[in-house]
């Protein structure tokens, strides 16, 4: 007799909404009349992310007591729920940013189908409770993202970005899979809880597998030295895709890293805290130093995302409940800031018809005051300035690290922040300190009409970035509730 698992459809609802929409979008892209395709597809994708967002919020609300469900394949708890809320929110903003992009008509439906598929994969990924579903989720969103990176084959570098991401990503996935195999070999179980319960602690196979799992996930987090694909792919991919990747993928990878390390490998804590601290320091050093020399803004932001991966890995390395809380909190303004920053870059890119560099960003702040001020806020947020959520994010991460007794990591973090001021402020400076008129940077074919969708997206990011500073208490409470799902 076969045991039929009890399926908790409600717990799966965010995933199902997105994957259903993905199938629908695939049909729209071939069945709907050409002219209606773009608005129809964008509307469906937006509605799907909105539905997923609502479901995820409801799920978070109704999952106070965490449990592994559907034959122990996925977790239903607030850690998963809050991450799903974030990912769905990122997807929603990504749809808003995407709308004004000049997609080739025959691919616009597929674009949204893949975006929702990637969203579905990520939403599933963060709920994984065993190594099998973990890998399934990882491949699910990765494959969708490989294609998304290469979707605009007329864009210089897009195809190259997709190919590079595919090849390196395959190595990363293989590493994770190999690690999973070794862990399974050492413990004989796949579920995170069962791995922790196993008595095979400290065996060579287990720690070897752990190292590979860490590397596979650090690859998706784009932490140094596994970050090398990041600048090329972020720069080459269409900007809305980059925005989604920078925000949502980071949420997924970090949330899952924290989950698997804390849940499955508590006995190896002495190893992975140090490993993550090392990786985090490497990310901060590499990300910040390399960003100094960049002129291309997307590439600069890519390195900034590497250094932010370092900051957020600090929170996991602290291995305490304050760390988990600060990770969840920090992700909220971080997502808003990176989505918003890439959205502003996308706006300038569409206006110029050329890649955005520090030089041709000149005067943008005066031409488009709203976007200029928004970018200013996002940069200050990355810097951890008060009046933005980035400030509390850094404070909380530092206090988690301090609680772990690693005051020297705080020193590293503060120095890194100081260095990062140079390039974040360089963006602000080039936007505001120079006039576009005297530089004769005329937009191609006149200024394009102001994009309402993109402006709404930027405004939403702005509200979250600043709002998370003022509404820090409810957000930190939510993060606290989420972190209770992890067994510290």
């Amino acid at each position: 007799m076969i045991n039929k698992p009890h399926v908790d459809w409600f717990a799966l609802s965010p995933t199902l909404a997105l994957i259903g929409a993905s199938g629908l979008l695939l049909l729209v892209s071939v069945l709907a009349p050409k002219r209606t395709r773009k608005p129809l597809a964008a509307t469906i994708a937006g509605a799907a992310f909105l539905t997923a967002l609502v479901f995820a919020i409801a799920l978070t609300d109704k999952s106070a007591h965490g449990a592994a469900i559907v034959a122990d394949a996925i977790f239903r708890d607030r850690w998963t729920g809050l991450a799903q809320v974030l990912i769905a929110g990122c997807g929603l903003v990504a749809v808003l940013i995407s709308y004004g992009e000049r997609w080739r008509e025959e691919h616009v439906g597929e674009y949204y189908a893949l975006l929702t598929a990637a969203g579905a994969g990520l939403v599933f990924f963060v709920s994984a409770s065993n190594l099998m579903t973990l890998f399934l989720g990882l491949e699910w969103f990765s494959i969708a993202l490989y294609v998304l990176c290469a979707i605009d084959i007329h864009l210089v570098g897009s195809l190259e970005a997709g190919l590079k991401y595919l090849i390196i990503g395959a190595i990363g996935s293989a590493t994770l899979l190999f690690g999973s195999a070794l862990v399974y070999g050492a413990t004989g179980s796949l579920g995170f809880d069962q791995i922790a319960a196993g008595t095979h602690a400290h065996s060579g196979l287990l720690v070897g597998g752990l190292a590979m799992v860490i590397v596979g996930l650090a690859f998706k987090t784009s932490a140094a030295p596994f970050h090398m694909w990041t600048p090329d792919v972020y720069q080459g991919a269409p900007t809305p895709v980059t925005a989604f990747m920078a925000a949502a993928t980071k949420v997924g990878a970090l949330v899952v890293t924290a989950r698997i390390l804390v849940t499955a490998f508590p006995s190896e804590q002495h190893l992975w805290t140090w490993a993550l601290a090392g990786i985090a320091i490497a990310s901060l050093v590499v990300g910040n130093i390399a960003a100094l020399a960049q002129r291309n803004v997307k590439r600069l932001l890519a390195y900034s995302s590497v250094s932010h991966a370092g900051f957020m890995l600090f929170a996991i390395a602290a291995a305490n409940t304050l760390g988990a809380r600060s990770l969840m909190y920090y992700l909220i303004p971080y997502c808003a800031m990176s989505l918003g920053a890439f959205a502003v870059v996308a706006a300038r890119e569409r206006e110029l018809g050329a890649p955005v560099t520090l030089e041709n960003l000149a005067g943008f702040g005066w031409d488009r005051p709203f976007l200029g001020v928004a970018m200013w806020v996002f940069m200050l947020g990355f810097l951890g300035f008060p009046l933005t959520g980035g400030f509390w994010g850094k404070i909380y991460v530092f206090s988690a690290v301090y609680q772990h007794g690693w005051w020297w990591l705080i020193v590293v973090g503060v120095v890194a922040t100081m260095v990062s001021a140079v390039y974040y402020l360089a963006i602000v400076r080039s936007m505001f300190l120079r006039d576009s008129v005297e530089l004769a940077l005329a937009p191609v074919g006149g200024a394009p009409s102001r994009e309402v969708a993109l402006s709404i997206g930027v405004a939403a990011c702005l509200v979250v970035t600043v709002g998370s500073f003022f509404a820090v208490q409810p957000l930190i409470d939510a993060a606290h509730a989420a972190s209770r799902a992890l067994p510290f």
Binding site: L163, K164, I167, I168, I171, G172, T175, H202, G204, V207, G208, L210, A211, M212, I214, V215, F219, P225, F226, M228, W229, P231, D232, E268, L271, W274, A275, V286, I289, A290, L292, A293, V419, F470, V472, Q473
Partner: protein, 625 residues
């Protein structure tokens, strides 16, 4: 009631934001009306709050509303809390009442200026900051308001940004206030650290009851109060601040901001009572200031500077009152002073306006006939300032002077200083009055007197506020007459119970002395400047040089600082810092270039980095596990 308090606080902020955001959509005049309207709304709300409060029992009058908890960790909460009690409502009424009159006056005064909108945005911002200072329910909001009034005062003093003197004055005010802010912030941090609380009640309850810590805390608070209220030794910014537009001088440097120090002492009186020495120091400094400022005012030739020194002198009285333990009288004088000093400034503004922006009183003379209305209100203001009964200054000032008699030997010193001050006030105030209004019109006045708005004394928007203030300056003091009725004392008793109370005999002695000396001062001024029967003595060099305070600061702070920084630059900065920054940037550049070399775009090298990292991590794990 709490809604009313919120409206009071937020109406000026809304106006500032609206004027800033609408930009050119709003005409300059509309901006002025918007700011005035917002100030009036705030005043109306403050009255509503006041009336509601009067209807309650004394015990129920203190109301704290927390709209929102920002952060809470254990017992430590950071809230947005408004405190509405008898003290703050009195300040709210003064700020919004006098404030709305002054903003209304500005509509006429500043008319035609290119940057009117900016002016009204700043004015609204100032009102908001000042209200935040007095309405904030905890130390954090107090500090925020304290800093923000400093900022808006800086913006308003430097409003004429094309005038070098205005910019320098703004900078001076900012630096001096920053010094005070730092001192105050330090003591607030000490308090928070010691008590673990932010709200006033909690802090006062758990504050150190004595010893060195209590003294340091009180000293820090005193530093903040001295800087904001322009008391010796942090007073030199106030006369320079007269570079700002006249309504600004009236609002900030007479009626509201400069009295914040007095408010602070009254609000935090438990902390000062824990450190008696500091309290006596505050009273002593107030006494020294009131005499010294009176002496300097004798020889000033700029109409606004005379009034500015008189302000310093009057705030000296308030310090004496508040720090000598007579909180009610300090606050009482704060109120009447707001009326008559705003009146004097605004009247001076009318004169300056009528004379083509001329402020030198030596060029004025005999303006009384041409400006009869201004002359009347100026006279009322002057009599109130000198403390001639029944004008408002008499009631408040005499009460302060009388209460010093309750403080023993130290009180006698204060009493003496106050009497000297009363005489000086009579002389300098009426020197100004006689020079400006009495006698024949001067040649300059004949030539330059013009009618800027069709009326010599300005448009109605300028005349009405001055008239209302004139009425208030005349009768405002009748609120309390210590020997007979004292509603104000009863009102403030629950917040700040005074510990220096004068007996009726002492009241009588003080009143008789003060009024006699004040009238003597007026007589002296009359003989020299009115009837001119006696020659004007040669001005004393020390008065003219303002007792060399600026030179002193120049010698002990500015010049050593410049010398030290030059030395540091030569010995440290050039060889070490510049050198190391060059080295550092060179290092970073090399690092960047090297990293860029690794980042060569080849998939195989990326894969190599990935697998190398993996190998290193695996080996480390296996070795150290």
């Amino acid at each position: 009631m709490n809604t009313a308090a919120w409206v009071t606080l937020l109406a000026p902020l809304a106006s500032a934001v609206a004027i800033t955001l609408t930009g050119n959509l709003l005409s300059r005049r509309q901006a002025g009306f918007l700011a005035t309207g917002a100030a009036l709304v705030a005043f109306g709300a403050a009255i509503t709050a006041f009336v509601t409060m009067v209807g309650k029992d004394a015990e129920e009058r203190i109301a704290q509303t927390t709209s929102w908890t920002w952060l809470s960790a254990g017992s430590f909460h950071v809230n947005l809390t408004l405190l509405t009690d008898q003290l703050s409502i009195m300040m709210m009424l003064i700020i919004t009442g006098v404030g709305s009159l002054i903003v209304a006056y500005s509509v006429g005064y500043i008319d035609g200026d290119d940057e009117e909108r900016r002016f009204f945005a700043y004015m609204s911002l100032f009102l908001f900051s000042m209200l935040l200072l007095v309405q904030g329910g905890d130390l954090l909001l107090l500090l925020a308001g304290w800093g923000m009034v400093g900022l808006s005062s800086y913006l308003l003093i430097g409003y004429h940004q094309h005038r070098a003197a205005a910019v320098a004055a703004a900078k001076k005010a900012f630096v001096m206030n920053a010094f005070g802010d730092a001192a105050m912030a330090m003591s607030l941090f000490l308090l928070v650290q010691h008590t673990g609380r932010l709200d006033y009640a909690g802090v006062f309850e758990n504050a150190p009851g004595g010893g060195a810590l209590a003294t340091v805390i009180a000293l820090g608070l005193l530093g903040g109060a001295l800087a904001k209220s322009a008391q010796i030794p942090l007073h030199t910014w106030l006369p320079d601040a007269m570079e700002g537009p006249t309504p600004v001088s009236a609002l900030i440097h007479a009626a509201t901001m400069v009295t914040a120090g007095v408010y602070l002492i009254v609000r935090c009186h438990p902390l000062f009572e824990n450190a008696k020495a500091v309290e006596n120091l505050a009273a002593g400094l107030g006494a020294v200031t009131l005499v010294m400022a009176g002496l300097i005012a004798l020889v000033q030739t700029d109409i606004k500077r005379v009034i500015a020194y008189s302000t310093m002198s009057q705030i000296g009285y308030m310090f004496v009152g508040a720090a000598a333990g007579s909180y009610v009288n300090g606050m009482f004088h704060l109120m009447t002073h707001a009326f008559f000093k705003a009146l004097l400034f605004l009247a001076a503004g009318i004169i300056i306006h009528a004379l083509h922006d001329e402020q030198d009183i030596r060029k004025m003379g005999g303006l009384g006939k041409k400006l009869p209305h201004t002359r009347t209100v100026f006279l009322i203001g002057s009599l109130a300032l000198v403390g001639v009964p029944p004008f408002s200054g008499f009631f408040s000032k005499d009460a302060i002077i009388a209460s010093t008699l309750d403080r023993g030997t130290f009180g006698l010193f204060l009493f003496g200083a106050c009497l000297i001050g009363a005489f000086l006030t009579g002389v300098y105030t009426f020197r100004l009055y006689f020079i400006v209004f009495h006698g024949e019109q001067s040649a300059f006045a004949k030539e330059h007197l013009h009618e800027p708005h069709g009326r010599l004394e300005g448009p109605l928007s300028m005349v009405w506020p001055v008239t209302i203030l004139g009425v208030l300056a005349a009768v405002g003091g009748l609120v309390q007459f210590a020997p007979v009725w004292h509603p104000l004392t009863r009102w403030l008793e629950p917040i700040a119970p005074s510990f220096a109370e004068a007996t009726n005999t002492q009241e009588f002695i003080a009143s008789a002395g003060t009024v006699a000396l004040g009238l003597l001062g007026i007589y002296v001024a009359w003989t020299m400047f009115g009837a001119k029967t006696r020659p004007v003595p040669q001005p004393v060099a020390a008065f003219e040089a303002k007792f060399w305070w600026d030179e002193l600061y120049d010698a002990i702070f500015y010049r050593p600082a410049v010398a030290a920084s030059a030395l540091l630059r030569r010995l440290v900065e050039v060889p070490l810092v510049f050198g190391s920054i060059n080295e550092l940037t060179r290092g970073f550049r090399i690092g960047s270039v090297e990293l860029a070399r690794v980042q060569n775009g080849l998939v195989r090298s990326y894969a190599f980095a990935l697998t190398t990292g993996l190998a290193v991590l695996t080996v480390i794990f296996l070795v150290t596990k």
